[in-house]
Amino acid sequence: MNQRVIRILFSTTIIILITVSCATPLGESSSTPTPLGAVVPRATLNPEQYPLPALKAQATLVSTILRQPIPIQLMVGLDSERAQAQEIAALDPRFQGDLWDASSGAPLRNEIFGVYPMRESDITEATSQCHQSACYRVEMYNYARNLTTVGFVSIDDGTLLSVTKMPDTQPDVPTYLVDLAVQIASKSPEVAAALGYSPDSEDAVMANTKTALNLTRCQRSRHLCVAPTFVTGERALWAIVDLTDGVLVGVRWTDVGDPGGPAVTERSLQDEVVTQLYCDQTTPLARGDWSMDFILTSSDGLRISSVLFKDRAVLESAKLVDWHVSYSATEAFGYSDAIGCPIFSQAAVVAFQGPTVEDLVVSGEAVGFVLEQEFWGEQWPLPCSYYYEQRFEFYNDGRFRVVAGNVGRGCGTNGTYRPVLRLAFAGENSFAAWTGAAWESWLTEGWQSQSESEPTADGYQYRLADSTGAGFYIEPGRGQFSDGGRGDNAYIYATLDHPDLDEGDTDMITIGPCCNVNYEQGPERFLNDEPIEGANLVLWYVAQIENDGTPGQQYCWAESALDRGVYVAKEYPCYAGPMFVPISGP
């Protein structure tokens, strides 16, 4: 009997153990999951408004050095031998090879990061004499080119023995820059928000909140970056600081006991944050009388949906399906670019940061808000790399505008950009075009070039209205929106929104080729002569924008320019897209 009881107890225990072990995944911790982090929108510091005294002092110093005959920021506080080694290197033309811009001769920002006694492993044939004499390794960083130059100096001979250049490499960072990085991180609102308090220098050395400098990389900006890391309990907050621009790139939490995790870098931080916050989930947005949801798609850019104005449904959804880019110099040469999520997507030009929402200001007055998303090629603004924007402008009076923007640079100055916008309207509507004298309804699906008709005196060219007459006038871009636009020259298509057929409701793979110069941009495949009066409608809008790189007339263009000794992008954006004006208060 006893044996039977023991057997039953044993079996029950085993079953319970198996059940418990099956229900608890290996490695699962009982603690709360580690929060993610944040990406700081790209920005360059305003030289009139540095946020830290140390940044202002550094900018002043850099400005002074750039005016010197040899634009190298030397190290201070070195002993006599090291100072001598630094001077020998700095004065040698071989060491000075990359101090100036090759085409303009303008000075670049250079700084000696370290002077060290040469190691045995540094000695080569060219520096063999350093086995017997005192030699130093002088490390200089070129901020503009992200280049390390190393000079090997013999003190005994007073000569520079050899020079090595290492592209895309950064030397060890001097202590004052470490301190600057910690300051930038400590004073940033993103770090304070993540930690729950504002750390200062003293906090950083408190026993329970240590800070350490981690190495990191900024693969996209190609800038000098380091990551002060604040350790709190089991978690570490990495704050990636861009020391070239003096700004915070973003913050990322990691588990302290997870050495096998991927390195925290600019790219990994941006990709993970954008993916988890904006690609994996829909975000609701309500502002003024407007409300909507938005999400970043795999290849259709930022998609807004369920758009309401004063509780009335306006749009089912709106998105940017493709960018068709063709170059006239070579027949059929160009690209069909998709924009979207940075990883695991069909996009080639991707989001490095999430969308922003800002006031829409006209003549100094906030008249609404704009939801904006940017997409970059990894090498922009270098040739054949692209930077696209989406802007959704919502006005307090019920108007809205869906905008596609391009900031170059592309592969040439003979390019035409054709963004394919798709807008699915809420409810049942009819579509009409202005004939010059009256509104003529389209009975079936169709398309028209913007140039085929004239707008009304108010600038309206099309109309979309329900059976009560409520709806919107459509005002294509003709250069009237005060955003530098030079006219859209658009193709407009009206198609039936089938409830049982996916004609672009879900994410679309590339809809058309790069280089068609007519209305065949993709939406025409949904034109089947179906009746569209009083129906669920989709409006497709394909602007045609010609870029220009002519000095003084740049449009859809970007150039690299020197600013304070480093290369920055000079932007010449172009914007296109229609304005929707309420017919009567919707």
Binding site: P167, Y335, S336, I343, F344, A348, I509
Partner: protein
């Protein structure tokens, strides 16, 4: 009467016991035999006599049609970033020289943009679709198909449609992303990540016997990229780069080219190069002890060739320890 019943019951028990014992013995024997067979099939097979050490692409030949058209051994079969499909042209004498004698058969762009092609010993060319910045020219349904350009007539046609474990998801536009050839066994290896997504890694390395044109072995549930076969004294191994981590792994191959056993970690590339997160997109064995790895970022999204930064790494084989050690990196 009662005794007889007891005797019968006792005999019945003994009979059942005997059956149990025999059953257990048979099961044990089957298990041992199975284990031995499994061990033999999954362990490394020493390199067959006649197979040389090092890389196995020594036999790759220029297509017959190309020779007839006047191209020599140095002619380049290219699937470069900007031109759609396959092209052949004379090797430029200097870098940056305009291409000369460029030829494309009308069938060579039927599969859209292509990945790096490989030749077999007869000069047949094998290539798989590889989308650049969109799927317009590379529809998903084509992306798990290997195409073959016939060495004699120069026409490109479908060679084999590889099966896939899941439909192409919207968050992974790729199918076959790696090919390599083994002259010893006339085998083609294809790395496909068709059907993989952020959560599920369902990639497969297929071993295709070019004599039969059939898949004869495969390695499942690993998303892989660059491929290369290397002969060691200990046996053949297929080396491959992972797409989700900066790591190179390998798996043993039999002397018949079949994949054997479990894959093993070889080395990490984390921190290598300017970006520090390169994946091994190409693996080539140059000499008997040199591995050349071309690394670049890979994040399961499309990318224009002009945006891709690639870094080449050189590693040397240490035969004593059966490991690869990085020698240097050069752009």
């Amino acid at each position: 009467m009662a005794n007889k019943k007891k005797q019968k019951a006792s005999q019945s028990r003994a009979h059942r016991r005997a059956w149990w014992i025999w059953g257990i013995l048979v099961a044990l024997a089957a298990g041992v035999i199975g284990y031995i067979v499994y061990s033999i099939n999954t362990s490394e097979q020493r390199l067959a006599p006649g197979f040389g050490l090092g890389g196995v692409t020594y036999c790759q030949a220029v297509p017959n049609f190309a020779k007839e058209m006047g191209y020599d051994e140095s002619a380049i079969m290219s699937t470069n970033e900007t031109l759609k499909g396959l092209f052949i042209y004379d090797r430029p004498l200097e870098v940056g020289q305009p291409l000369t004698n460029v030829y494309q058969h009308p069938s060579w762009d039927d599969a859209g943009y292509l990945g790096t092609p490989v030749n077999d010993g007869l000069g047949n060319i094998y290539a798989a679709p590889a989308p650049r910045v969109n799927l317009f020219d590379n529809p998903p349904e084509q992306q798990n198909t290997v195409y073959k350009v016939d060495t004699d007539i120069g026409v490109m046609a479908e060679f084999i449609r590889l099966p896939f474990p899941a439909p192409m998801p919207p968050d992974n536009p790729f199918g076959i992303i790696g090919l390599t050839y083994d002259c010893d066994t006339n085998s083609l290896y294809a790395a496909s990540i068709y059907g993989s997504d952020r959560e599920a890694e369902v990639g497969i390395i297929y071993h295709i016997d070019l004599d039969s044109g059939e898949v004869v072995s495969q390695l499942e549930n690993m998303d892989t990229f660059g491929l290369g076969v290397f002969n060691r004294v200990l046996g053949k191994r297929l080396y491959f780069g992972l797409t989700r981590k900066s790591e190179v792994w390998s798996v043993a191959l039999g002397n018949d080219g079949k994949i054997r056993g479990e894959p093993r970690f070889e080395f990490s590339m984390a921190g290598w190069g300017a970006d520090g997160d390169d994946k091994a997109r190409r693996i080539v064995f140059r000499r008997a002890d040199e591995m050349f790895v071309r690394g670049s970022a890979f994040n399961y999204n499309l990318i224009a060739g002009s945006e891709r930064i690639q870094t080449d790494y050189l590693l040397r084989y240490n035969a004593e320890q059966d490991i690869w050690l990085r020698v240097d990196d050069s752009q």
